[in-house]
Structure formats: structure tokens, C-alpha cells
Amino acid sequence: MTAHDPHIGAMTAAIDMPLLSVGGLTKTYGSGRGCANVSFDLWPGEVLGIVGESGSGKSTLLGCLAGHIRPDAGRVVYDLDGHARDTVSMAEPDRRRLSRTEWTFVHQNPRDGLRMGVSAGGNVGERLMAVGARNYGAIRETATDWLERVEIAADRIDDRPRAFSGGMQQRLQIARNLVTGPRLVFMDEPTGGLDVSVQARLLDLLRGLVRDMGLSVIIVTHDLAVVRLLADRLMVMKDGRVIEEGLTDQVLDDPQAAYTQLLVSSVLQV
């Protein structure tokens, strides 16, 4: 999936600079777990999938990328309006500002990404208010638009997420995250714990949003079917290292590493 907005395309072609450039990223825990020496570039409009089993270091890597975990070494350079900024060495206030304007994080469990005691409208509106929106009517209008975009009926705007199904909660989390028009989205197993049919609906929604908003996405999952449908590129992690990377369909259809071959063959028809 790639940016199809001609303006976005033109802009990135002119600058031609990765949105995110990661080098030598390392975070080890005493137990030997973590991630080691990870490097890659992510381009505007690209969706990068990171797969691996539990303990492969993929969640640690995502945490380091998103600024939730401080890496032991390495850099995560983000293109902030044409200026390359290392978000690892950046001051915390700047990094937090980045993560509520340019970046966003979709959690596996919607409870971690939503305020369960706040209405759907309030959940969506929070990021708007955090960046200075002070007109109640306008906030509500934007929230209504976004609820409809993620296929939640507008008349549920004052309901709390507790009253929603798992799929609806996850869609609400996505609306809450995308309302301020971020450029980079981190996703941690966004379809985990959902029924297959609900997953499909969510994937379809995500694909449309990625294309229409020109989003760059880093998605961590163990579900190869999800990356097959969503990701342009794939990184396979094992024991904290990236053991294989490439075009998603190439890695899945012609895996080179022994582990990737095992991973692909152990899944029925992806």
C-alpha cells in the first residue's frame, strides 16, 4: 500500500528522504532478550511488517522505535518537516510532542489505548484538545466524522467504550489515533484477539486509511495473513535479530532463512 495522494507523492519524490531511518538499534535485558543492531529505512506511505514469535524482540523493537523504551544504543531518525531529528537523543518533551502530533500508537488491547471511562467522542477528541482545539462544536463534528469513518454509528458518540464490542473498541482506538492526521503509525498486533470476520473488516479499514492519508505504518504481529494483506515490506525477527527482510510477498513465497521457511510452512495458506 502506498501514498496515492498526488501531492504527497510529489513532495516525497522531491525530497526523497526516508520518513524514519533506524540504525544499530539495540536494547538488551538481563535475560538476553531484547533486540540487537536493528537497522532499516521506512519511506513515506510505506507499511512495514515485523513478524516473529513471542520473545523474538519485535515488541521491544516497536517500543524503542515509538519512544516507549529507551534503547541501549542506536538511533531512530525522523524526518520532521525536512529536518532529520534523532528521537532517541531528543528531549522528552519534544518526543512526547512528536508522539501526539506526528506519531501514534495503536495497542493490541484497546483498553490500553482508550480511556474506558470517557465517551467515544471524548476519546476521539482528546488528541484534538491536546493540540489546542477549544471549540466544542468543531471537536464534536470532527469526532462524529471519524466515528463514521471507522464505521461506528454517530449516535454512539456519547457511549463509553465499555459498551462496545472488541472490534468496535479497536476501531474507536484507530479513530482516536488518526484524528489529528499523524504521519507515522505504530501498531502492536492490532487484530489480535478479534474474530476472523472482525479482523477482515479492520484490515480493510486500515488499508483504506493508509492509502487515503498517505500513512507510514510499522506493524508488529505474529499473523502472517495480516502482513500479507497490509504490509509492503517485511522483517522477520528471531532472538532479537532481523534474520530476513524484503518485499512481503517475496519473503512469504520465497523465504531464504531456515527459520522463515519454518514459520511460513507452519501456517496453512497465507
Binding site: 518533551p93 512526547r96 464534536r140
Partner: protein
Amino acid sequence: MTEHAYNFAYLDEATKQMIRRAILKGLAIPGYQVPFASREMPMPYGWGTGGVQVTAACLTPSDTLKVIDQGADDATNAVSIRKFFERTARVATTTATAEASVIQTRHRIPEERLSEGQILVYQVPIPEPLRFLEPRESETRRMHALEEYGLMHVKLYEDIARHGEIATSYAYPVKVEERYVMDPSPIPKFDNPKLSGMAAIQLFGAGREQRIYALPPYTEVVSLDFEDHPFEPMKADHDCDLCGAGESYLDELITDDAGGRMFVCSDTDFCAARRAGGHRGRLVPEGDAA
């Protein structure tokens, strides 16, 4: 035990020094919650232990103290705190707002405009305005440090979504000098405008939560709101039935079993002074000024 068994104003000098340091820091960073080592006081939490410690740290033998509870000088809480300092500090006390150099208050700001040289000490139950929405102290402190206040407006948004207007009527959150969001203690939002530009020093003490914060004189304090739902101070749509004041904050009293009721100034000193000056309200017979 005699009064002489106590140090001046009950607390020992080292403790008062510690509290004064917190007060000074609070004054230097208006609206910022300064942690302090709150002491056990001879009264239960919730009865103004934070305010009492701040008052104790501020008092000098030449001070005149006034204590009010919901605007009243004669409420139990006010009386007991006043007596406490009469006994332990032997300072002069008064009910007249203008005569007091230190005023300790629970849930009100006096109607009469305060002046330079006066100190208003608030009793605060929960100092953290973000607490209701974010239970983690570590996170709320970070939010203050980084000025991440979107959440505060979420609370107001929820009010409007549920009630059609900002229903928060007391402890209405404010922003201090465009920096810290602050809980003004459970004063009615009617009093919020008085917080801003006040000539007196305003000190806030939370005993159980161990926080002190402050507003130096003439600090700008803005009540949070939305452009299309602006902040509105609110009071009962009546005049005082005793003194006839139309601009003061009123308490509603039920007077009989038949549903009879009356509205009176919550600030007893203000009301009494007006009546002494000849003003009279609906329920005061002609010729009876007091």
C-alpha cells in the same frame, strides 16, 4: 497541659521552616504543586490539616487571624481552627475580613475584595486536577511537567456531552499564568474570577496529599472553557433575603417542613456588615436592620 507546652502556632520551628520553604517555592512557580512533609495534626484529615499547617507557618504574633468554613465564621470547623490558634499562638482573631492579616478558608473566597498584605490560606482535599481522569501520580506529574493538558478539556467535554453545559460547579479547573493547570480547591466556580489578579497572597495546603501550591499577588488565573461554551460564574438567581445583596454567593436554607426556603449570603461577615450598614433583604421586617 497548658498553652505554654506548645511551641508558637503548635508546629516546631524546623517544621515551619520546611513548610515555608515549600510555600516560597510555590510562590516562585505559581500553580505548581510542591510536595512537603505533612505532619500529624491534632485533627483528622479532611478537617483542614493542610491549611492549618500553612497558616501555622505564616503566623507571627502580631497577625490577626480569620477562619471561615463555606464563608461562615461560626461553622464548627472554623470555630475549632480559630480556637486552636488562639490557644497555641495566642494571636488576635477576627471575623471582619478587612481586619484579618491571615484568613484560612474552606470552600469560599470572601466577598470583600482582599488587599495587599493579606494572606488567604485554602484547605485543599485533592490538589491534583487531573486525578479524576488519570489515577497514576507519576503520569500526572509528567503531564504537568510537559504541559500535556488535553485531558483536562476532556473532562469539560464530557460535561457538555452529558449535561449540555459544563456542569462542574465547584473545584473548577484553572490555568495559572498560561502554564500550570490548578485545582482551586472546592470553591464554587462563582469565586473563580476572584482568584485572578488578587492583591493578597493565596496559599493552598493539602495535608493528606502532602502538597502546597500558591498564587502570588496579581497572578493571572483563567478558568478553562471552550470558545462556544465559555466559562460562566454561577450563583442562585436571587438576592440575599437578609441583606438584599444581589452580587454575593448565596446558600439556600430550608426553613420549614412546608418547603419554605430562603437564600442568604454564604459570607456571614459580608452579610452582617451590609445589614449593619442599613441594607435589608426580603425576609427582614422594615426597621429591623440586624
